[in-house]
């Protein structure tokens, strides 16, 4: 027998022997990158304070993850980028003016309680950043609803506080919204650019859409959730959005205002699509999106809060495992729906 070539120590492992280049951390960092345009717009409109808030949020998230994993002697997985992403999303969902301890508490709740205590990445039921924010909203209702005017410059550090478009819509109606923004075109333009009060990263529709387009193009998210989420919300806004106030009517709502305001775009493209907490089966994702859109509008039109995206996604998160079970994929050949076709000669 030939000599075994000892200089080559062969690796023996189970097939397949090649793997794609996609990695979890590449996905996480790409999503993080896709959020940068919106973050930059937030910084532009709300000033250094906004940058500070987002930075604190990210640092607190990463530190929470690191300390937890270190303390429990687990593998340190900070470099997978998921904690950075959670911190960034939380920061983007905060009002610009919150005191420094708010993002710290939020990140702690997001990373430790929502993610790590459930078993870490992949095992959490709820979107961590959204739980962080929900916790803050319930614990610090005042601080979490002080909205700064977008000053579009770094000079006005003491910008006036104001109400968000959705707040105005809820409390004072469409007429007031028109009064604030002048006319419809101006309203749409300002919403599109992001020149309005709101959370740091949610205001600029154009910046969010650029990020979303990148994710869709790279296949990191698919259209199923955003399309069903936004579509459902738009239809409901159109049908029922005009009912409130005096002289309200069906089919008189303004879907565009609803889509462009609040956290709708940020939520539909970047939060509802979180792999871990949404269903994994595509058909189920459509149902999930419809549920999110429906609940968002229910809260916005009938609930106690002007904005409903956050609670809607969190509530529907609970159903993800159920949806996955209900929408199990069809095993190849299982149903005789493809009857043996007559073979073409």
């Amino acid at each position: 027998m030939a000599e075994i070539k000892k200089e080559h120590q062969l690796i023996v492992s189970v097939s397949p022997h090649i793997k794609s280049e996609e990695t979890t951390s590449r996905i996480m960092w790409s999503v993080t990158a896709s959020l940068l345009p919106a973050t930059i717009m937030g910084a532009y409109f709300f000033g250094p304070r906004a940058i500070f808030t987002v930075a604190i949020s990210i640092i607190a998230a990463v530190l929470s993850e690191y300390i937890f994993q270190k303390a429990l002697n687990r593998k340190i997985a900070v470099s997978d980028g998921s904690a950075v992403l959670t911190g960034l999303l939380l920061g983007m969902n905060l009002p610009p003016s919150v005191p420094f301890y708010i993002p710290i508490i939020g990140s702690f709740v997001a990373i430790i309680i929502t993610k790590q205590l459930f078993g870490g990445l992949g095992f959490n039921v709820f979107n961590p950043a959204l739980i962080g924010r929900a916790f803050l909203l319930i614990s610090f209702p005042k601080l979490m609803t002080i909205w700064k005017e977008p000053t579009a410059a770094f000079v006005h550090l003491d910008a006036k506080t104001t109400a968000t478009p959705l707040g105005i819509l809820k409390e004072e109606g469409v007429a007031k919204l028109m009064e604030v923004f002048g006319d419809k075109i101006n309203l749409y333009t300002q919403l599109f650019v992001g020149h309005r009060a709101g959370s740091i990263g949610e205001t600029s529709a154009i910046a969010l859409l650029i990020g979303a387009a990148f994710l869709l193009y790279r296949g990191y998210i698919s259209w199923h959730i955003p399309a069903s989420f936004l579509g459902t919300a738009a239809v409901i806004a159109w049908i029922f959005g005009g009912l409130s106030g005096k002289g309200g009517a069906l089919f008189a709502g303004d879907p565009i205002v609803h889509l462009l305001s609040g956290g709708m775009l940020l939520g539909a493209f970047f939060m509802a699509t979180d792999y871990v907490t949404c269903p994994s089966v595509k058909k189920g994702q459509i149902l999930f999106g419809i549920g999110c859109g429906f609940l968002t509008m229910l809260i916005r039109l009938k609930g106690g809060y002007p904005e409903g995206v956050m609670f809607a996604i969190l509530i529907i998160n609970c159903f993800s495992p159920l949806i996955d079970r209900g929408f199990k994929t069809r095993v190849f050949g299982a149903i005789k729906e493809t009857k043996a076709k007559e073979i073409k000669k």
Partner: protein, 435 residues
């Protein structure tokens, strides 16, 4: 027109450029061959030679026991110098016959019968059986068994599998280019044995010259159709191939015959032609020796029983940074422990992979539920659930997710961004629960 295909699947880099231009060449005669008595799925052969005995090329050295079995023949003329347990590429030890080659290439019997098409279907089938022909795509299922469908399962279509969807491999591609006529003859014999008048040859569309060559060779045959298929792994898996070429879906755990189809590989068709025409047993096959870790990739005509180490020498040797040597393709092949294992009837390739690109099993993360594996599983399974359940020891529960419908194509493991060893976990579960 959209190319025929199936749902799901992946697009790994095909890497066929390494060896696709290499014309099939014959290896220099090996000094000795190690011929295992099990080279097929089914019962092992009964040894029919003894140490010291002189054998001729093509002489049977193992006779089949039972219906699902195939005889084994000597690939050289010479003397049996040892009989014992030797490892296969999979690591399994099997009884093998070691024959020293006298270099005379003396055939036991070989005669040209140009009128082979006049033989009756049963006579032809007998020739296939006696030649020890098995599926040469990798599974190595005895060919004559597939050619004996039970009465209640009428077969009306034969499909030749020219998809060769495994990256790197080019053996079938070269055969289609260099011997298209023999492929067509093989298909015609198969159709005659089965009494079928519809024959298809499915070829992935990244081999347009092979499609052309086959179309030309089959131009006079009205009932043979060449199908260009979308380039997608695992296009060459039987069920996917049948779906793509004739639009039929084999039911779960079913066989192609359940939908009236028999599938054979390109190499098998050529072997069947040679058996029918010359009475030549299956003693050699084409092996693609390739990969970034081999100096000179080649498509080789190899005698069964030649050691992999001889093939590697034939191809200029290994580069120094070699990490893994795989028998078969990169998606479903076996990593070898040792290079001193013989080429068998099912060895379609020897793939030498360098260090980079080899992912070490321990570096995997949790399932992030990204759904990629679900989207691409050609069987419509949920590999993520299977892997998570198996990882946590819920083996019985994996059956709720159709564990046994997985044919281990590896697509899920390929796409997983967390690098989870999904196939490995699925195999573990399969070994621990009953279907």
């Amino acid at each position: 027109m959209a190319l025929a295909t199936f749902k799901g699947g992946i697009h790994p880099p095909d890497k066929k450029e390494l060896s696709k231009e290499k014309i099939i060449s014959t290896t220099k005669p090996p000094k000795r061959v190690v011929i295992p008595l099990v080279q097929h799925i089914g019962a092992p052969c009964k040894l029919s030679v003894s140490v010291g005995q002189e054998v001729k090329k093509g002489e049977a050295i193992g006779t089949p026991e039972g219906f699902v079995s195939a005889p084994v023949h000597s690939s050289v003329s010479g003397k049996v110098i040892a009989i014992g347990e030797f490892p296969l590429a999979t690591g399994r030890m099997v009884t093998s016959v070691v024959i020293e080659n006298d270099g005379k290439e003396e055939w036991a019997s070989l005669k040209d019968n140009p009128d082979y098409m006049k033989l009756s279907p049963d006579e032809l089938k007998g020739k296939v059986k006696d030649a020890g022909i098995v599926g040469m795509g990798g599974a190595a299922f005895p060919a004559h068994v597939k050619l004996s469908p039970p009465k209640e399962k009428p077969v009306d279509v034969v499909i030749l599998n020219g998809a060769e969807c495994e990256p790197y491999l080019t053996a079938d591609y070269r055969l289609m280019l260099e011997r298209p006529q023999d492929v067509v003859e093989g298909l015609k014999i198969l159709m005659r044995i089965l009494g079928v008048n519809k024959g298809f040859i499915g070829i992935e569309n990244n081999k347009p010259d092979a499609v052309e060559a086959m179309k030309k060779a089959a131009s006079g045959e009205g009932n043979i159709q060449i199908c260009a298929l979308e380039v997608k792994y695992p296009q060459g898996a039987e069920k996917m191939l049948i779906r793509a070429t004739v639009g039929r879906e084999v039911p779960p755990r079913g066989l192609p015959m359940d939908v009236g189809v028999v599938v054979q590989n390109i190499g098998t068709a050529v072997a069947i032609y040679e058996a029918a025409r010359y009475g030549k047993p299956l003693i050699e096959r084409i092996v693609t020796v390739t990969g970034e870790g081999i100096k000179e990739p080649k498509n080789l005509m190899v005698k069964i029983g030649t050691l992999v180490s001889d093939l590697i020498e034939e191809c200029g040797g290994l580069k120094s940074e070699v990490a893994k040597v795989v028998s078969g393709g990169p998606m479903m092949g076996f990593a070898m422990y040792s290079l001193d294992v013989p080429v068998t009837k099912g060895t379609s390739g020897v793939l030498v992979l360098p260090e980079e690109g080899v992912i070490h099993a321990e570096d995997f993360g949790p399932c992030i539920r990204c759904g990629r594996c679900i989207d691409i599983c050609p069987m419509g399974l949920m590999p993520s659930m299977l892997s998570v359940l198996s990882e946590r020891g819920f083996y019985e529960e994996t059956k709720d997710y159709n564990l046994f419908d997985c044919f281990e194509c590896g697509s899920c493991t390929y796409v997983c961004p967390s690098k989870r060893p999904i196939v490995q976990l699925i195999r573990l579960a399969k070994s621990l629960v009953k279907p």
